[in-house]
Amino acid sequence: MCIAIPAEVLEIKDDNIALVDYGDLQQEVRIDLVDVKVGEYVLVHVGFAIQKLSREEGLQTRQVFKDVYAAMEE
């Protein structure tokens, strides 16, 4: 339930809505809980960004997820 996925902010659409990129999937999420700019990374939980991540951390965590999914498909 507390699962959270890192994503890159591509576009701020409104005060509290941003288009984010998870790697292969883009989605509009709510950004009420964080102050973010385009190009920054966030951790997304139930459609809301709950914290900012550094770019390096975001990419690192995303790679881990990719590895896990790749392993599951083998």
Partner: protein
Amino acid sequence: MAGGMEIRKALDEIVDRDYTFMHICGTHEASIARSGLRSVLPEGLKIVMGPGCPVCITPQGEIDAALELAAKGCIIATYGDLMRVPGTNGSLDTCGGDVRVVQGVHKAVEIAKEVPDKEVVFISVGFETTAPTVAATLLTEPPENFSILCSHRFVPPAMKFLLEQGEAKLDGFMLPGHVCVVTGYAMYEQFKVPQVVAGFEPEDILLGLYMLVKQAKEGRADVENAYPRAVERMGNQKAMKMLYEVFEPTDVEWRGFPVIPDSGLKLKPKYEKYDALKKFGVEIKHVEKNSACICDKVLRGIRDPTDCKLFGKACTPRKPVGPCMVSHEGACRIWALYNQKR
């Protein structure tokens, strides 16, 4: 970060007696079971799951309240995990009402805007990670036909209960990473036992276990952070501020636990108009458990899922008896899925 093999070797060297640590997070349990992590731990080192699945710890009386709201004609919007949790008479997926699975609370509000002549109730479960998303939504003034069944819980009061009661004989806690993303971990410093905030990869969990054993062995009782890529000591202050703008602590029952002081959230008077219980005159009733299901003991960390007579027989993921077999985050469901034996 050191690789899993190195941490495992270090664990083998450091474990000198029996240790039992508890994690409080379904995502931790899923990672542990999926990776088969328990099978590589040294003899004597045990990691048990506590009350870390929001769906599992939601008492039956609250499921019954959701069913009553569906029977009154409300559209019920819920996370998918709650659909099959048995209430006293059926579950949301079989109740015949208009029940819709949503990604989050904001999607439930979208439904309310699409059908202004219908009442939409969001079943608002979840720990500190999730509650701020609901607070943020209520702060943006959803329509009048929207309300929530407020079933949020806070982790630290349950830990306090477990420590005071002592039945699980714990040497320390692995703290839930994404709860701590929001709350930080300063509030856990009140507990005088070893605690480590851990991430969700098998390596993160092994590292967390190593740090816990080291603390216990050295007789320290600190809160250490093994998930610094996402967690800061004070968490997300903006999210916490929004949470307390909308909610205040209240005493609530957890499944498997008695009423725990200040462990739940209720809407502050200004936001009471979004309280589905008040709006529709529904009461939460205490329901005595009457089956052989031992979810209550599993949630307190004193029994393993495989200790249950029903596990894998009368109670399976296909035909669950208790909530721990329903939710993807429930210990029983996870153990059944990954054929976990100990």
